[in-house]
Point group: C2
Chain length 392, copies 2
């Protein structure tokens, strides 16, 4: 397997205002993206990869001088990988409202000359897709070989199939759903309340106070993270193991049943240590306003709303062929959620391939190596490749 | 069905220090309790009801002049009810560290003359049981007809059966577990972090600052509450319904698919409104230090730890007969957790009755009316009654 070599992000500026679902508009904006592989002459081999909550345009490869900067789906995308960049021209794109380069709350609001902060308009999955389509326009891609994403990324792929039916041959939706459940929304709102009630949030204008609502972000990430892992996986990885083997041991862990309780509110269990670490790390790089925006985009996504809740009616607009995958232990977006989409597509006589992968890792499984999963995606892209005449 | 009439709490002071599992001790302490029904001459009809996270000694009945002050298990305990106070002498007791009357963080620390705050020692389920046993001593109850509890209350009943095998004829454990899972601990730690990182927590000494860490308590309660309800129940009760039907509608709710998104971070969905309301209400009456203490008691409970994780070995000490019940949609303490206890008891040839109730209401089901559940408890207490010669 060869390597992608070093990759570099690019930016594209859009001077034309973007009308948003909320009624607001962005006067102008910038999108950050990366590409891997080579666009063929008839521009038929392009694949758009949409990102989930905390990811970015940096899907694959590493940056020069940063050997640990692998893209978030580097196991999936690259030369010889399931989405093979020796064949396909792959685009990773950062969404509006993000904190990784595309126009977002940290950028200057042209109306005030100050950072947008909480004044950045609430953006939806459909708004993101509309912005992505403009980038495709500029690149001259009239039809993607595929649009692909996992979780929130899968929602974007699904929205593409509804909003721009002719602009994608294949729609690849992994570990996703056509709408959040009450429980999903509830967890998102807990996260939002943690951020909004952090005094360092300052109504979204924390940039000018020189602080960051770290405590809120930390709690938000901790609760989110619990929903990404399966109960069994957590039991296996952490169980009830204590962090320290004895009173003197500052580092290291011990087997279940060993060690002593500390009888305080510091770290006792490995799982606490792990989650707090995840929360701390996240609070150091992620923007609080972005977190609020993205959770709202998740909550609002519900394309069937326009058709009285009838998903089959909604998906009648689609023209793509579909590949969906779900994971048995994913309790955030369980297999039933993917099955709903599959049923609605089948009732429209769409061509659908559906894989339900028996994997222990919960929602996170979509990002992890699992040979059955990877082989299915690889095989599917083989068909896509044949279909666009790539084998000729 | 007659009524309990008005009930009143009582207090009992203990001047003898209580040695705690942590190594610390309480110099002296007070327990708050209520009793319903009449203790018979041979003191054989006493039933101890242990409370869960946010409850108290006020199990049943109402207080004079407070018609809405029903006890937390009033549907279970009373004249003619499943735990019939015409037959049994029922004791509800508030645990140490609580904020409802028994000695806790809000009370004066004799060592400093100021409220304990975070200096209140971390107490365990076993510490609570030891304190409860002293109250039984004073009341002259050498053997309870039954010790009963749901959730964390069930853990106390289980601890009774291990610590004082001869002091209870029956052990009734509802919707409980012999130990928390990593996921359970994770949710508890999210709640604790929300409280500990609230600037109004002031290291536990918020009393003297005249504030309460409301935001932290609110988030803690919201995340806890999600785990008490089932996904399906939430879907049925709230689904994706929006709070307000139109821009002008301040109150009232609308059917799923109706109404408009607000494109802000206020309340859009019913479920958000419900959870925030629960969080607000909780933050107004519950003490933050108590919440921390109780979640730690939950995390630490693991009686099998003393036997290398072998629950069967642990339960070999028991002498009681057991009744366990679990609820199919309870994902906090699922039926599998009760089954583990049942198996460990059976391997010790203990007499066990186990009911797995098909109920939609998640963990909260143990507090709700369900005729199959209630009838099973009623029938079981019928046997207990016969056994103590009550029918003679």
């Amino acid at each position: 397997m060869s390597s992608l070599g070093y990759v570099s992000p690019q930016t594209m500026h859009f001077a034309q205002p973007l009308q948003l679902q909320s009624g607001a508009s962005l006067r102008d904006y910038m999108l950050m993206y990366e590409t891997y592989g080579t666009l063929n002459a008839d521009k038929s081999n392009a694949v758009l990869v949409c990102h989930a909550l905390n990811a970015s345009h940096h899907v694959a490869g590493v940056y020069e001088g940063q050997p640990k900067s692998q893209g978030w789906w580097d196991n999936m995308v690259g030369p010889g990988k399931p989405l093979d960049t020796d064949k396909f021209f792959v685009i990773g794109i950062n969404n509006l409202g993000s904190c990784f380069g595309s126009t977002g709350p940290m950028h200057t609001n042209p109306a005030t000359g100050k950072p947008y902060g909480a004044a950045f308009p609430v953006v939806t999955v459909e708004d993101w897709v509309a912005a992505q389509a403009r980038l495709a326009d500029v690149l001259g891609i009239t039809q993607f070989a595929a649009v692909m994403g996992g979780s929130l990324g899968g929602m974007q792929a699904l929205a593409w199939s509804i909003m721009y039916p002719e602009r994608l041959r294949h729609c690849i939706v992994i570990a996703s759903t056509a709408k959040l459940s009450a429980q999903n929304i509830a967890f998102n709102d807990v996260a939002r309340q943690a951020i909004l009630s952090d005094p360092d949030y300052h109504g979204g204008d924390f940039y000018e106070h020189g602080v960051v609502p770290k405590n809120g972000l930390r709690v938000a990430r901790m609760v989110g993270h619990i929903t990404y892992l399966s109960d069994d996986d957590m039991a296996e990885k952490f169980g009830r193991r204590l962090r320290d083997a004895g009173t003197g041991a500052a580092a290291g862990s011990c087997a279940e049943g060993e060690g002593e309780y500390k009888f305080g509110f510091g770290v006792d269990f490995e799982i606490e240590s792990y989650l707090r670490y995840q929360g701390d790390k996240f609070s150091e790089y992620f923007d609080a306003n972005t977190y609020l925006l993205i959770t709202k985009a998740l909550d609002y996504f519900d394309p069937a709303r326009a058709h009285g809740g009838d998903l089959a009616k909604t998906l009648a607009a689609t023209r793509a062929k579909f590949f969906l995958a779900s994971f048995t232990t994913d309790w955030r977006f369980s297999p039933e959620r993917s099955q709903e989409i599959v049923q609605a597509l089948i009732s429209n006589r769409r061509q659908v391939t559906y894989a339900e992968i028996d994997a222990p890792h919960g929602h996170d499984a979509f990002l992890l190596d699992d040979s059955r999963y990877m082989n299915m995606v690889r095989a599917y892209y083989g068909q896509v490749w044949d279909e666009i005449g790539g084998a000729q």
